[in-house]
Every structure is written in C-alpha cells, then in structure tokens.
Symmetry: C2
Subunit: 348 residues, 2 copies
C-alpha cells in the first residue's frame, strides 16, 4: 500500500475536549462512537455501525434511525432545515431497504426565533413528510435562552418496515461487485457554503436534498442482488466508500473520470480548495451490486428522476482490504482517505 | 365558575418571536402546538395530544415517543442529563401502557465540552437503559460551535409494544373515577433549581428521576380499569391534570391536604415563591382509575418502591368540564389553572 499509514490506524486517546471534527462524520466521529459511545451502551446492534437499526417486532423487521439537524443557515437554495430533517431520516431508512412509515419531530428552539421562520420550517417539514408518505406522529418542543442555541435544531427519528427478503448491510460488499452512484456529487455542501458565505458562483448552486425511498424501491424491484446502499452525506462520497470498505473488509476501486460532478460544483470546489469527494450530498446514494445485476439496477436508477445521471463508478476488489483507491483522470492511482475531521461544519 | 375567564380561552395570535414560555409545557406550549405544528403536520395522531403515538405495525400496537433534553446543569443530585433522557422517554412509553423496548440517542454537543463529562453522561445513559431493559440501537452526534449550544442536548426517541388489552388515553377519564398520585411532588424541579442557583435548603434536594415502567406494569396487573396515566413533568401536577380534564372533557376535583409534598420541598417552595403544583417531577405519575378498582390499584402502587407514598388525591366530576378545582387546607375551593409560560426553564 501507499505510504499514508496503516490500514487500521492505532487507536489514539480521545482529546480532552470535544471539537467540531467530532461531528464531521469522518474519522474523528468514528473514534468518538467507537471509544466513547459503544462502550457506554454496549450492544451488538450499534456495533454494526449501520445508518439504521433493524429490530424484530411482532414478526416484522422494523428499521429505526435518528438524526439531529443543525444546518446553518436554516434556509438555503433547494430546501431548508425542515425538509432536510425529513429527507435525511427517510433516506437512512431507505438505505436499509425499509419503507419509511412514521417520524417523530423534536425542536430545540433558541429564544427569539421569528415565529414566521418557525412556521415556514414546520410547514416545509410537514409537506416533505406528506410527499414521502410518512406521518409525523409525535413531537416535542424545547426552548433555550438566547445564546444557548442557534435558531433551531431539529431531531427526526424514523421507523419503517424492511421489505420482505431484502438484506442490505454495510458489511455486504463482495469482491467483483459493481459500485454505482445515483448522480453528481457535492451539490448540497456547495449550496450551503455559498449561502452561508454569501458567495456567488457561475451557475446556481442548489442543494440536492431529496427523499430517495422511491428510487430505492425501483432499484429493489429491478434486482434483489443489491448488497449495500449508503447515502454519502457528511464526509461525502469518500467517507461512505471508506465505511463500506472497512465494514465489508474489501477494497474499493473507483475511476475519477466516471464520477459525475457538475461543472458549477467543480468550479466552486476549485476556487474554494475543496475536493468534491469530501463534500456533502443529501439526495444521492451509492449502491454496491452483484456484477450480474449491475446493468439492470443502473437502468432502473436512470429511469427514475433522482437517478437520471446514475453512473457505474468502480468495483469491489479482494485486494487492499479496507482501502479505497481511485484511478485519476491523469492515469495515476491514489488512496481516497477519510478526512479526520470537518471540511464544512454544520452542513446538515 | 370562578371569575378567571372562559373554560376555553379564545385563541390569541402567536407572538412574533418564540419565547422561553413556548417550551414550558404550559399553555403557551399548547398554543404553539395547536396553532403552528398541528396545521403544518395535520394528522389525527398528533391531534390527540397524547405523550406517545400508537401505530399499528404487523398486527402489533407500537408506541413511539420523542423528547429532547436541555436540562441545566447537566449533572444534579439524583441524576444527570443522560439518565434523565432515558427515564423521560421510558416514562412517556409507560404512560401509554407500552413495554419500552428500543431507544435512539442523538447528541448535539457544544464544541469545548469536556470529553470526561460526555463520557460520564453516555455511561449514565447506558446504565439507565440497561436498568430499564431497553436497548440503545441507533444514535447520532452533531457538534456546534462554542456559543451555538450549551454543553450538550440529547434527544431520545423510544418505541415499545402496547400491552394486549390495554387502552390508556388522556381522553379516557369518566365522572366518578378516582385520581391517584404515585408520591410526593416537586422534587425534580427544586433539585435542579437549588443546583443551578447554588442554594442550600434544609434537607437534601434530590431529583426523583426514575423509570416508571415497572410501576405501571404492577398497576396494570392489579386492574385493567385504569383509564389515564400521565407523568407530571414540565408544568407539574397542575398541567398534567388540566390536560387530562381538557382532553377527557371532565372536571377534576383535588384535595390540597391529600397531595404528598415533602417538608423540604414545601419549605424551599415557600422561600422561592413557587407553588409545588407547578414544579416538575421526573419519577411520578397520576392515574385516573375506575372507582371500583381504585383500592386495588393504590395497593399495587404502594407495594412498589416508586409508589410507596402513593395517595388518592381527588375525583373526576361531570361538572365544570375542562377545569381543575382544589379544596384547600383552609376549606376554600380554588381553580388550579395551567401556567401560561415558564416557571422554571430548562428543567428537563
């Protein structure tokens, strides 16, 4: 392997204080979960490090997932914290092969928030839920003093039923599988950043925030030989692929030239010194699929509005297990590592 | 009726900005839910205003509830935000007659929190869950910049199975029913306040934070003629009783002299100008029970460590529907109203 270090880095002691990087979805987040939360809760389900838990209840396989949303600003092109809070949780259920059914919505509001902003956010959350066919069945509202919060934070927790016969897992990738991506990357992160910093780029930057459950349904209708699904949110495509490689104990090889990135996003990333592989998405998925089914699944993705630009971006290998490698457009090969901490904080 | 106003106050427009009172669990919280959240989400389940939703999944009745915890300080006598986050959600499930099964735990951490504090909190959360026999199956961690949060906020969302044949509802109280209370009130609120303000009172102030699921199980084993259960948290006993009176469309008459309050809490309340009826509890419940079953249920409560000081505090009447009235120790009768806003913010 290259000289970037050990495939399984030695665990470092956690630092004395929590830093922004611990919420990045990158390596520091993983260390916090592994070294602090898992020992505290200690059970097999959490240890699997999936985006959703699957538990048996009354003969059904129920998926459950939770996410708190702290995105800044609250409103951005392509969405707001309300719709994002629905899409994020619906997508985590969908990645487990579950049909999303019910959501909880809990608000932590900073004193002084304009009531009209809260009304817009709740309305957007409600409409997004209705569009996904999920019901918000329970909620909670807390208010903290000015300066003890930041506008509003929203937690949504979702439950859904795992479709019969479907078994998706971050540990399911096998050498020879195809790696598919549902569309161009980096749009959510760049939209948030340009909104936050008041930047103007060529071409409009719009978040890709969208619910992926019907796309997943179409893919599963095309083939049950889908082994893993993951939505590359915080930490971007690189984190998602690294997690899949680590959990499955396989290598992943991708082609830089095959990864769709819009010109506008590529330009913005160049200006800002960002790598689109590390920029967040909120309406994309990576699928690891048995090679024999890859054509049918890709076709199903392309027939769906949210997968129209889907592409095959690489393959799973039995070599360099735990690593993601990329053949660049220059013909060289480089390791695509996980970021240790945050590239863009408060992206979701 | 007394001269305090209409039984159903005319709706007032929400103010232009969110204030602390909107998170109080009192009348302002109710207005925010009714005028902003319900129209946004619009479904029958939320409109019932129970502490938990009950949905049918695969032939089972599944209860789901969510709560965000923003208590200040994070550590207090009798508990901390970690154990409180388990007890609060377990109790909301228990009040619906459900056996708690699975929890999610989502942390919003302020940058700079001592890692050791986070470790203590997660450990406490894990131990509390283990003691309740619930598993933390999924989680999330976000970190916000210093000054955009306050130490740590925790959301827990719980699911459980409603016991066969049990039908508890805030709308289930009937004239003639007995009103039972599981023990002395006001301990959590006074413990938090004394910790926060560095106050010293006669007698140690310890939060009553505790999981009530086994107490509820013992009560349901004694009789299925329990009509309503509610844990009087934010807003205290007065809010819980007012909600039950409003949801059931009945009057509730209580006896001041029958309501257990520890001398230490009574003394602290007098010094601080607080009414124990409005002070938060985190390990107590109110039960509204068919008169014929009241003796058996009270006996079951008193046989349980968390109900040893249980008392019959009043009855449900068909008069003054929607109101709670109290016969004072002076022999007069007064209306026990809901507080409009907050007596003690960030109590849970």
């Amino acid at each position: 392997m290259s000289g970037t270090g050990l495939a399984c880095p030695l665990p470092l002691a956690l630092p004395g204080r929590v830093v922004l990087g611990h919420g990045s979805g990158g390596r520091m987040s993983g260390e916090l979960i592994r070294d602090l939360f898992l020992p505290a809760y200690g059970n097999a389900m959490l240890g699997r490090m999936e985006d959703q838990a699957v538990v048996g209840i009354g003969g059904c396989r129920l998926a459950m997932t939770t996410d708190s949303f702290v995105v800044k600003p609250l409103f951005f092109r392509g969405g707001d914290i309300g719709s994002l809070a629905v899409h994020g949780t619906v997508n985590d259920l969908a990645m487990g092969g579950a049909r999303p059914l019910y959501l909880s919505a809990a608000f932590i509001i900073e004193e002084g928030l304009e009531m009209e902003s809260l009304r817009r956010i709740a309305g957007s959350l409600g409409r997004a839920a209705a569009r996904c066919g999920v019901e918000v069945v329970t909620g909670d509202t807390k208010v903290v003093e000015k300066g003890s919060g930041d506008g509003v934070f929203i937690n949504t927790t979702g439950i859904g039923l795992v479709r019969e016969g479907v078994k998706l897992s971050a540990a399911g990738a096998r050498p020879g599988d195809a790696v598919l991506l549902s569309g161009p990357i980096g749009e959510h992160g760049i939209a948030i950043l340009s909104e936050r910093e008041g930047l103007e780029f060529e071409g409009e930057m719009v978040s890709d925030s969208a619910p992926l459950d019907t796309l997943v349904a179409a893919m599963l209708a095309a083939s049950r030989e889908i082994h893993c699904l993951r939505d590359p949110t915080r930490g971007g495509l690189s984190s998602a692929l690294n997690e899949l490689a680590a959990q499955s104990g396989v290598g992943i090889e991708i082609e830089e030239g095959a990864i769709p990135v819009r010109e506008s996003v590529r330009g913005a990333c160049e200006l800002l010194g960002l790598d689109p592989l590390y920029v967040a998405n909120e309406g994309k998925l990576v699928a690891i699929v048995d090679e024999r089914a890859a054509g049918a699944v890709l076709e199903a993705m392309r027939s769906h509005p949210l997968g129209a630009e889907a592409a095959r971006i690489g393959r799973v290998s039995g070599e360099d297990r735990g690593w993601v490698r990329m053949r660049t457009t220059f013909g060289t090969t480089r390791v695509v590592d996980m970021l240790p901490g945050d590239q863009l904080p408060r992206i979701c």
